[in-house]
Symmetry: C2
Subunit: 203 residues, 2 copies
């Protein structure tokens, strides 16, 4: 659509706000309130811009959300890539769990944007739900492949089902998000993680 646009030719009146900063503020609002719960008034007030500026810069509410979701995954879910690189399945799981806990109880709203947005969206925003489902499914398949590799490498027992184990791990992550969203303190969720790791299959 756009050419590489090299260095912006800077024609016309220049924009008075920083797109990246505005997007970061929008992310925070979506994270707190979900997609449908975030009104344009909430968004524009947090972003410090007016509605026409928002529409000119980001298209519409849905495309703004998609950009915010990209930013979220890039900034807040980077622990997933780290986790997949760990040498053993147990370390993969532990890195995922502790990374998720830091994310959902650290700075920013409590809970995972993916879970909040997908559970909260009505049918009018079903394309949002589909988008999140697809991204979640892609992440799941990476984990299944990782645990299958772990089986061949002998750091998971032969009797475990990689698919089931992945769903268990994802359930932990979703449960942590839901409980953090309900305000459970970090220490309580650490107990959850410690117990989950106690249950984790040993080779």
């Amino acid at each position: 659509m756009n050419k590489p646009e090299a260095i912006a030719p800077a024609r016309g009146r220049p924009r008075e706000f920083c797109v990246d900063h505005a997007l970061a503020q929008a992310l925070r609002v979506f994270w707190e309130k979900g997609y449908e719960g975030a009104s344009l008034t909430d968004l524009t007030e947090a972003m410090g811009i007016t509605r026409p500026s928002l529409y000119a810069a980001f298209g519409n509410k849905e495309s703004l959300f998609r950009k915010a979701l990209d930013l979220y995954e890039h900034e807040k879910m980077s622990y997933i890539a780290d986790a997949l690189d760990k040498p053993t399945a147990r370390e993969v799981a532990e890195t995922m769990l502790r990374g998720a806990l830091a994310n959902v109880t650290g700075e920013g709203p409590h809970g995972c944007l993916r879970v909040i947005a997908s559970v909260a969206c009505g049918e009018e925003a079903s394309s949002i739900r589909c988008e999140i489902m697809e991204r979640t499914k892609a992440g799941k398949e990476n984990l299944v492949a990782r645990f299958e590799r772990a089986k061949t490498e002998g750091d998971l027992p032969a009797h475990v089902d990689p698919e089931g184990l992945t769903r268990v791990l994802i359930a932990y992550l979703q449960g942590i998000s839901v409980q953090a969203n309900m305000g459970e303190p970090t220490e309580e969720l650490e107990k959850l993680i410690d117990t989950a790791l106690t249950l984790w299959p040993s080779a």
Copy 2:
């Protein structure tokens, strides 16, 4: 407030709809859309009554939701009481997990009303969220007590933390709800449960 009202004295024009049936329809709408996602138009259309009738019979939207939540817990979450009566911790867990799966993938919308409503509600409906949090906390404490008993009875190993194990079990349930809500098929979630039971601590 109301006296026991014995047999209704039946003064004035009688009501033309069945309150229980209307409440059941309201429950279905809240279950599909969450508290804020369910509009009065959605509700009255599904219930087959007009707005003034709804307000006369149920008070307002929030009190209608509370009554619907009562009905939901009584009708759809009865497996919890069954589970707590099982003789071993493993059977408690298995009954909870399979009961929850039947509930969130059976007839009716997919996912647990508690999870949907608590995650989806914005701050204007925070009293709803608080209500759900308290009910969830009460259920959690029952489970902790049950697992502590299981430890004294020797069907849980001494090293497990009942609190952590309860949070793990609740995370399973919440994860099942979130994944069912995303449309995952029953068989996939059975894999989750089977693996979770494989991991469950043995005495």
